[in-house]
Amino acid sequence: MAQPTNAAAASSTLHSTPSEPSATGDPALDFFSPLFNPARALAAAALHPPVPTARPLDNVYKCRSMLPSDHPDAWNDPHRAGKSKEAQEAAQREKSRLSYMHQQQERQQRKTNPLDQIAEHVRAGPLLLLKRCYQQRSRVRVDTRHARGVRGSMEGVLVAFDKHTNLVLREVEERYTVLLRVQRVKPPLPGGSGRERVRWVRQQEHRRRQLRQVFVRGDSVVLVAAVQAGTAVPEQQRAGGSAAAAPLQASVQVGRSSMA
């Protein structure tokens, strides 16, 4: 393979007496000459490189690792750095250590539950309370909202959660309100030709239901509180809710909340 035609390299310690002088002493075919022409050398018949066991490389760029270290273009391959025994052993140990850690990580990932993995992403902040409730499978109280106000409250066991406050709850008891459009009919005014006046009004109706298992989307959640059966003062945590919920009766609780 052609050696770099760099003049500096040609004069470096790689230099040795050519074993086979070119037929006519042509500098273009002399491997150690700065005027060496690789294309012609390839075309020339019966011309062998001076070192027959030289390692062939793809291009001149890769020859940099062969240059002496004081050469400006020299490059020490970090992967092959140090042919010494200590360096090789150190490299080997590093490789096995990294692969061991990688294996451990894989094993851990395979063992953990995907819901645990999601919970793991919560490291700091108010959501830690939610994480604790999840880990203890505790009963929580979740207030939900309409587009324009607080809808109601549900109590259930927290089975899963995520950073958006999407929740999965079990054994849920829910008290909530719905807004119904009802027709109100007013009797005609006394005296004279009166007509019945009919109006559509919105009426709030309270409802209650039990649910075995439910997925709650995070943007409907106003507040999540840990509830322990029997304790008087529940810890409170306000979660999510980007749009403003109308300040109805729930505002009192919200005002008293303490951020974790």
């Binding site: 999601i118 899963a160 999965v168 298992q213 709650v216 409907s220």
Partner: protein, 142 residues
């Protein structure tokens, strides 16, 4: 549906794992939609088939296909026996198996003798055996 990688770190992966099950979706304006979940994406946009739509006040109507924007979902009611962790695990395994099978099929298709479009070639679209129904794209080496 798409967004499987984005869904990985949120409970959207759980909703995606419910593919193929009958679910009851309650929307923000108190409408109930019952149907078979065809798929969900990371923003909880849902596709349901054989669905019934029941507003708060008003009659029920049926539809072969309903697409719900995730924003409007409030609740998804689930059967009591469902275990979320197990469901997600099973779904991930199913997806991994389908991906592997597809990759194998692609490799086999690539190994076929030059010119899948040669004269008299029998092209296969869809796979009778796989649950994933992988489709080989027409077009091998020219």
């Amino acid at each position: 549906m798409g967004g499987r990688r984005r869904a990985r770190h949120s409970l959207a992966c759980f909703v995606q794992a419910l593919e193929g099950q009958r679910v009851v979706v309650e929307l923000r304006y108190d409408t109930i939609v019952r149907g078979t979940l065809l798929g969900a994406d990371d923003q909880l946009n849902l596709q349901l088939s054989e669905a019934s739509y029941q507003p708060l006040q008003g009659g029920q109507s049926q539809a072969d296909y309903i697409y719900i924007k995730g924003r409007h979902v409030r609740f998804i009611h689930l059967p009591g026996k469902l275990d979320p962790a197990a469901t997600v695990e099973q779904h991930r395994k199913r997806v991994a198996a389908a991906v592997r099978q597809h990759a194998q099929q692609q490799a086999q298709a690539a190994q076929q003798p030059a010119g899948r479009l040669h004269k008299g070639a029998q092209l296969q679209f869809g796979d009778a055996t796989a649950g994933g129904g992988a489709v080989d794209p027409a077009g091998g080496p020219p």
